[in-house]
Point group: C2
Chain length 279, copies 2
């Protein structure tokens, strides 16, 4: 993905002050989403998660600034003829005095746009490993897409070192939580299972849509439940979900092969339809 444009606080710009708490402490939130034909896909879900984060971290940011920044990018992309792109919206607490308790603000609003392909009709299944990197239990931050991502950085480095395409991550107790930048869904006996996101992990927007709407629309029961790596042995199918890549089936993980992509393919069609029809 190549960068198309970026804005900082409404101005086309590439720099932020070094005193920004986003840089000092990762004191920020972000959303990554697709923009198709001038529309931010699943924006209402992204906006709602960002809102939860702003409240949880107590970041004071005029919501209109966020809406205006998104509009500015949408207009620019349409004007420049970029039909498909990916965007990262970041809201940090802003420039601050020294120290954790140093006064800060106003919030910094950043939008970065990248060139992207359309949704792939049938993406090739990926191979995954089980990462040794574990996610720490932190209920105060679980579910949020916040700017403290060193665990993902370490897991990404582990995947690179092992030459792995994708990785599944467990919490400290050995429960499956997610993939590097995606949620996980396992199919067994015609039912869909996904882990709770209560103590770590990010509550993905596509995950939310699958739980709230897509599973029912496709006629498959869904259960949010603890999953262990051992459950992979009995699974018929495994797939990953996120905002940029949609739904990707997993072909193999830790010696277990998954030949079926039936439910991943079905739910992907529902996802594309839902994204086409609603915001």
């Amino acid at each position: 993905m190549s960068l198309l444009a970026h804005w900082v606080n409404g101005a086309s710009g590439a720099d932020i002050p070094v005193s920004d708490r986003g840089f000092s402490f990762g004191d920020s939130l972000f959303e990554t989403f697709r923009i198709h034909d001038g529309r931010a896909l699943l924006w209402e879900r992204h906006r709602a998660r960002l809102e939860r984060g702003l409240l949880a971290l107590g970041i004071d940011c005029d919501r209109q600034r966020i809406a205006d920044q998104l509009d500015q990018a949408l207009h620019w992309l349409s004007h420049e003829g970029h039909d498909h792109s990916a965007a990262r919206l970041t809201v940090s607490r802003g420039p601050a005095e020294r120290g954790y308790r140093g006064g800060a603000g106003p919030a910094t609003v950043v939008l970065q746009c990248y060139d992207a392909s359309p949704w792939p009709p049938l993406p090739a299944p990926v191979q995954a490993i089980l990462c040794e990197t574990r996610l720490a239990d932190q209920p105060l931050l679980a579910g949020l897409k916040h700017g403290n991502r060193l665990e993902q950085v370490l897991a990404g480095r582990e995947l690179d070192a092992k030459g792995a395409q994708e990785g599944l991550l467990c919490d400290g107790q050995g429960n499956l939580v997610c993939a590097l930048a995606a949620n996980i869904f396992l199919i067994q006996g015609g039912r869909l299972f996904t882990p709770p996101i209560e103590r770590c992990g990010v509550a993905g927007t596509v995950r939310g849509l699958l739980i709230d709407e897509l599973a029912a629309a496709a006629g498959i029961g869904l259960e949010i439940t603890r999953l262990r790596p051992a459950d992979l042995a009995n699974a018929d199918e495994l797939f990953l979900s996120n905002s940029l890549q949609g739904i990707r089936s997993v072909s193999a993980c830790e010696g277990h092969s998954f030949t079926s992509t039936r439910w991943g393919d079905t739910l992907r069609e529902h996802l594309y339809r839902a994204c086409d029809s609603a915001s």
Copy 2:
């Protein structure tokens, strides 16, 4: 503390690129230290902790750049006649492509200098509360002074909301770990106790000096052991250590009063002497 000067990659500057992974993911390390009379106090300990962090996170940064950046600041401070200052050195993985696994580099080296008072001869004891904010167990990052500091941000907000001067933080199992930005030491029956920093918390440089040298020099036995909030009830004395404030006694915490500051005062004298005599 007011800002005196800042440098980004050797140039006097206030901005970093918005694509810097320090801003995107808190993918960085930092050191906060005192500079007295042209000398960075306890620098060898700060340098060693930074080195551990660079290796743990796999951040590729020419060590000479770090040494040169520090020298540049030390010369400038001496030339401008700033005898006492505080500095934050930050090393991030640098500007990068999108995503956790996006290629990055070269590393960004930032140095920020602030005006500071000399060591206080006898700082007033502080009152502390026990924070509700807990620190997550993450052995991969424990001990390091990395750029993922949302837990400290949340704890700082908790202290502000409660009008508290200082706070003690526990891990998820309820073991005492540290204060907001300091390590903790408890004295009971003429012995010094401090918690292990193995699963969370920052391994402070003054803590390291206390363990390695100062306790023995002052003639007090020291034990690294698990501490619970209940242990405060039996403690004769409690003090906090960090690089900027040195050693501060705690006068009260959660209904327990500590009238003695004997060992805090004694060890502070040893700290000042050690800082005066060595790097």
